[in-house]
Amino acid sequence: MSEKNEIIERIFARKGIIAVGLAVFGLALAGSFFTNDYLKKFNIDTVAAADKDSTEVEQVEVIEVIPATEVPEAEQQPAGDEIPAQSEEEATVAEQEVEQAVTEKPAAEIVNAPVKLTASLLRNNHNSFRGPFGLGVIYHKNIPVEWDGNTGKSVLWKTPVPKPGFNSPVIWDDKIFLAGADENNREVYCFNRSDGKLLWTGKAGNIPGSPSSPPRVTEDTGLSAPTVTTDGKGVYAIFATGDIVAFNMDGQRIWAKNLGVPDNHYGHSSSLITWDNKLFVQYDTNKGGKIMALETADGETVWETGRKSKISWASPVLVEVDGAYQLLLTADPIVAGYDVSSGKELWSVECMMGEVGPSVAYSNGIVFAANEYARMVAIDIKTKEILWEQDMYLPEASSPLAHNGLVIVATSYGVLACYDAKTGDQHWEHDVGTTLYSSPVTADGKLFLIDNEGVMRVYEFSKEMKLLKENELGEAAGTTPAFANGRIYIRGEKHLYCIGN
């Protein structure tokens, strides 16, 4: 490079620097012209209004369903031995009260106004997992016993469920509720009971404390295993994220909170149950067990009782003992009862072990608790005495059913067994040969149990094994059906079915 070139290079350098400088400044200026100052556009009122609109629009969603013929309301004649019967007049009055409250009062008032749940009101609905009080005893009549999901025989309607979940349908009046979740969204669905139309979808998002990504769960538990519950004024749902949320019957979100992500290696699955304006949450995790009562109106904690138990997947059951209601819970190692008003542990028996999934059964003062690889025990609720125990047939996921002196157990390997409630003697067994995760329920003098392949078997509820019908749904199932007014509502893998005569 010569000195002459040095001069030329400097001239080029000058031009280059000026060009680059102007280009940088020009680009920066051009960028500024295309930049909006959104901070200046901030208006808190506008944002709040937008939030409201967005909530209202997004939470109501309607889909087309297969048309169905309206079926006349079946006779609602309560029956059973544990709960006194309710007259038609009482039921009608109670229903009218609830209906009036829903139609006339604004949303906030509806939720804040206490509703007195009664046993008879629950028996006319199906407000929780395994029906009234979570006991698996249904008081509706004229339940169909024969259908075929493949041909559509006795299938009044069938509608898709937007998101998956192993929770079971619950019913209040003319509405059916389900929950579903995937990696991104957690939702509660309300369907019209008469035609299956999706009335609204409630979103369980934007909850303070909710994890940004859902916890790892197993495929057969999922993110939405717990069944929702309702008291006729609100619908309450919990998910594997620990998010618990309340909607009114029209789908407006009333409150939501996160209880802390449950440390649960399969996924939280304990269903909710409600009574006396309280929402009960069994929260047995790897970090310890507890039972909580939340105000149904605002989600505030009424009481919380720690449990000397390990993790469990069972759900609470409500029973009346000497005029007072108590919650029955089972987990490793205790089966225990808690006062619904104070949360105080009333009694407990150390008798259970393992990863407890089945909830307890209860009939005539006897609590029946069972778990696979452990045992089944019959406990006198007053004396805490273990009346009998057996380890022949034990359930893994299915909860036992006790009613009219019989105890029904469904094993995951496909055996349905019937025991005598007082003595523990085995009356009968039936090897269906397929997986049984669903819980047996009794209605209209019959025993209903659907297997994981979607075949529901209907038996006579008696000491003798009498299989009445085997009905194919046409798709896999595993949840426990809901019953109302001569109809059965079954959640299949992808659809919700209404079976009726």
Partner: protein
């Protein structure tokens, strides 16, 4: 030449081994917790515990001293080369490129503007020691103590000589990068020099794909355009260059008198050798004084223009700040609240902070950016003005000498000089 090829071969083997380890690491993903916790991307490795951070300072001090000794006293390119290899292994692959003098000025900057942020003694020393050495011995840090320089230096194959005008023009980029890095650090927004360090991913064998690609691209480019990051990006190099211009001692091409044999003219891969000035030609080229005055008078104009552009640019520059970004996102698209996949938004919603508070914080930050951007713009204008005026100034020079600001003290030119002491 054979020896050089051997060095290049060994460095390639080292890089390939590193990449293989990286790919193997990707085969076994990080553990995920059942609680839903997501491990964030690692920006910096674990801090040194106890006295080990001072061990790093001691190592830096020794390396700088050796580099100065090799460059100025021993005049050994060989020594500087092996020192680079050690630096690459120790500060690069062993210490994962952190702590690093190149990014340390951001820590120092933040400590000036954030009373709650303090820098450790070791960070301060990592920032100061190379500058002090540059003030006395030239850029010996670049020669043998910088892992970023070392990895590039060892991969130079056939360096092309860039025209001076291009060197000068591209030389503006480090100043712009420095101004932006100081702006972002001062506002507590980000340490962009660390975040966009192209080689740190290679050192750590763990980085986002695009950063790995960027790093490899720089290395490939560096085979022909020697040490491109050091010359046309490194903001710390700006500070070192300033110091080095006033260095008490500096590497020289010849140990004695220059005999103008011109053997060294092609020795520098960084185009950092100044040639003798032909005064006669310069006088014939035109009235230099007039140009100087014109460009000197234009400097305030460049500063004002830069400040104006900076002020106009603060809106989008401030969006690099998390609070400003979030506030604008939520205002411009309120529906984003319902997007469960947007972790930033969901984290904000879960924090319980109100929108009003967020907007207030964002407005404060935007105000800081407005002032900072004006200063940064003015600084860039000043640099442009001074660089222009520099092109009009000719210093009397009769020998071939290293450019004190641009010379990286690598010592290559010394081997070309036939003069002996």
């Amino acid at each position: 030449m054979k020896r050089k090829l051997l060095y290049i071969f060994l460095t390639f083997i080292f890089c390939i081994t590193a990449l293989t380890s990286y790919s193997q690491q990707q085969r076994f993903p990080k553990p995920e917790f059942s609680s839903g916790y997501e491990q964030p991307d690692v920006v910096t490795p674990e801090p040194r515990s106890g006295g080990f951070e001072y061990l790093d300072v001691a190592v830096l001090l020794v390396v700088l001293s050796l580099a100065a000794w090799f460059a100025l006293r021993k005049r050994s390119r060989q020594g500087i080369l092996w020192l680079s290899v050690f630096t690459l292994v120790y500060f690069g692959f062993y210490r994962n490129g952190c702590i690093c003098s190149v990014g340390s000025f951001q820590n120092i900057t933040l400590s000036f503007f954030d009373a709650g942020y303090s820098v450790s003694i070791s960070t301060l020393l990592f920032f100061l020691l190379p500058l002090i050495f540059a003030l006395f011995f030239g850029r010996v840090f670049c020669a043998g103590a910088c892992p970023l320089g070392a990895i590039q230096d060892l991969l130079i194959v056939k360096p092309l000589s860039l025209p001076k005008w291009l060197n000068k023009t591209l030389g503006l980029i480090p100043y712009i990068y420095l101004a932006l890095a100081v702006l972002f650090a001062a506002t507590g927004t980000d340490f962009i020099v660390c975040r966009y360090d192209p080689f740190v991913g290679i050192f750590r064998m763990d980085a986002k794909f695009h950063m790995i690609v960027l790093g490899i691209s720089f290395l490939l480019m560096g085979m022909f355009v020697a040490r491109p990051y050091c010359r046309f990006l490194c903001p710390y190099g700006v500070l070192l260059s300033w110091m080095s211009r006033f260095s008490k001692w500096h590497l020289t091409i010849t140990p004695s008198l220059c005999i103008k044999c011109k053997l060294c003219t092609t020795s520098c891969p960084f185009d950092a050798i100044d040639f003798p000035v032909n005064e006669k030609e310069i006088v014939q080229s035109g009235p230099g004084t007039k140009k100087f005055i014109v460009y000197a008078m234009l400097i305030p104009l460049w500063i004002v223009a830069g400040a104006f552009v900076g002020e106009r640019s603060h809106l989008y520059l401030s969006r690099a700040n998390q609070n400003v970004y979030l506030a604008e996102l939520l205002i411009s698209d309120p529906e984003i609240k319902n997007d469960p996949d947007n972790i930033d938004v969901q984290t904000f919603l879960e924090s319980g902070k109100t929108m009003e508070t967020l907007v207030e914080e964002a407005e404060v930050m935007r105000g800081q950016f407005k002032t900072g951007s004006m200063i940064a713009g003015g600084f860039i204008g000043l640099v442009i003005g001074l660089t222009l005026i520099n092109t009009t100034v000719f210093r009397k020079r009769q020998d071939y000498v290293p450019h004190r600001g641009n010379c990286l003290s690598c010592g290559r030119c010394m081997d070309y000089c036939p003069v002996e002491k």
